[in-house]
């Protein structure tokens, strides 16, 4: 590897001049510029970012932590993040922190040690090791949350109106004629699950069906969707429709319904949440809430870069539009 010194020597100029050529082309005469460019080409020189970062205290790097990379929902968000970050000249350090809870702090450490300019976390809790940072710098801490809006989480975020979306799905089920509905939530420590649950109960109240509501706590996983559905099916007065707080759990629900010898939507309607890619292709295809995952990804980056540049100084919580997608998995209950 050649260094800036080699280039300077070969071109017969100082390192300062080479640096100028590299960064701005201002204040460099055409003749010198040619010489330097020639030397760079000849040596195949590439600047050492390490050194550059050390000097400038900027890294052009963003950290993204995700609870479960195998979840298609997050994958789509990450796509949006990578796209926006790359376009802005940033590279993305992606950390899967699902199974090893401690590792999120490992990634947070990168931020604290200034090895990254900012961090996006897609889970529902701020890594504890960043509490100090957030407490001290407030909204100007370069940290943004994707999906999980919560007042107690004092950072900026990008998300949909989860309560409204959940309410709309419930309204849809009631409109189809369902009375008894089972709901499989996500982890209730997560604000989005609590928001959705609130939408669920609001709709049930409005329709006077609060007593016909069965709420089970899930964890967004396929397995959990299957297990909880089996529980619902075993009830004496079983529901005629199930609303899962993730498409993955809905897939599990479909599986359990089939395993019980029943059929969806004839015997049981199922609605999901997220609209991952596969939801269109499942058997039956899934009625669900489309989250603008790509857009969520892009916006979080936009917001984060705003904070980093200093343009954004107040906490900002962006609510994006969602969309209900009606497919085969919901229908009127059998008479």
């Amino acid at each position: 590897m050649s260094t800036i010194n080699d280039v300077a020597k070969l071109a017969g100029v100082s390192t300062a001049t080479v640096s100028r050529v590299l960064n701005d082309y201002a204040h460099v005469s055409p003749a010198v510029l040619d010489k330097v460019m020639g030397a760079i080409d000849q040596l195949g020189y590439e600047p050492n970012q390490m050194a550059k970062n050390l000097r400038t205290l900027k890294t052009s790097r963003l950290i993204v932590t995700v609870p479960n990379i195998a979840n298609a929902f997050f994958a789509h968000i990450i796509r949006g993040v990578e796209e926006a970050a790359l376009a802005a000249g940033y590279t993305v350090l992606l950390g899967d922190v699902g199974f090893h809870g401690t590792s999120e702090d490992a990634y947070a450490g990168l931020l604290r040690r200034k090895e990254a300019d900012g961090m996006i976390f897609l889970g529902h809790t701020l890594p504890v090791s960043l509490n100090d940072l957030v407490a001290k710098k407030g909204a100007s801490a370069p940290i943004v949350n994707g999906c999980e809006f919560s007042d107690s989480l004092s950072v900026s975020s990008v998300h949909i109106d989860n309560a409204l979306a959940a309410r709309q799905i419930m309204d849809h089920l009631y409109a189809l004629g369902h009375h008894r509905i089972g709901v499989i939530t996500g982890d209730l420590r997560s604000p989005i699950s609590r928001d959705r649950l609130q939408g669920v109960t609001a709709s049930a109240d409005q329709h006077g069906r609060s007593n016909d509501l069965t709420i089970l706590t899930g964890d967004y996983s396929i397995e959990c969707g299957a297990t909880m559905t089996a529980q619902l099916l075993a009830q004496s007065r079983r529901p005629t429709a199930i609303f899962c707080f993730s498409d993955d759990m809905a897939f599990g629900a479909l599986h359990a319904i089939r395993a019980a010898g029943l059929s969806c939507p004839a015997d049981m309607s199922v609605a999901g949440f997220d609209d991952v890619h596969l939801s269109r292709f499942s058997a039956p295809s899934l009625t669900t809430v489309r989250q603008p995952m790509h857009e969520i990804g892009r916006k979080t980056v936009e917001l984060l870069l705003g904070i980093i540049d200093g343009g954004v100084t107040e906490r900002v919580n962006i609510t994006l539009d969602h969309e209900l997608v009606f497919r085969e998995s919901t229908a009127a209950p059998k008479a």
Copy 2:
């Protein structure tokens, strides 16, 4: 942020001593060690990795590029990679390079510029900008491929015996009594697709059914599985079984079969490849080849670290065991 100088000053020692405390505890008297530790605690000091890396020319960072992060198969491999890397004290820089072909070179640049110690790529082609590096350093270039073994790819790799696995799936279908089989491959520029295709034709030859084989070129995506299956269903003498080179394509196939008013496996058997998490839950559940994805991830890291440490100097190609998983989607053809 405090620096090593602040610590040194507060502890009343030199930076060299602080550095010694930080790295090894050798040659430091207990009294001084105490003082330094105290100062570190008091300041909440954390070493700046940038500076450390610049000095040591090591980064403790690995790059992983993946063709499509939304593909569950890759997600599982990445899990294994992250786990092994973290355990060895490395952090993982993950790059999704699917839709923006150029960006793989962006990530490769990180390696060339020594911003990472090594690179794992899960696609089938070496980023062009690394050709020089591989040509020059050969097997000691810190680059490992996951999944895609090819002789022309002159780097170490970890993969299964794709030809054998494909052959076994075909043998299974023939054993069930199928004669006409449709095969939907992946991108044929990819060695694994070619290997699998070779296994397919070998089995067909052996069973004297080469003329009853219909081979369509796919791209591993759900959509493609659906489209190609629709084509197969439209044939005059349509196959009774379809072998897809990925589970995703198999999901697409199931969808197309259902859309055509047919049923799997009664009217059409379907086999996949990978055994992603969802394959157990699809309707019907999928007969497929289980790849040891987690293990592939772990082994690639192991291999890469071996190269980085200098322990591995020859090109190594590791073949891991696969396993056939028989589920509902394959059955004997109707009489």
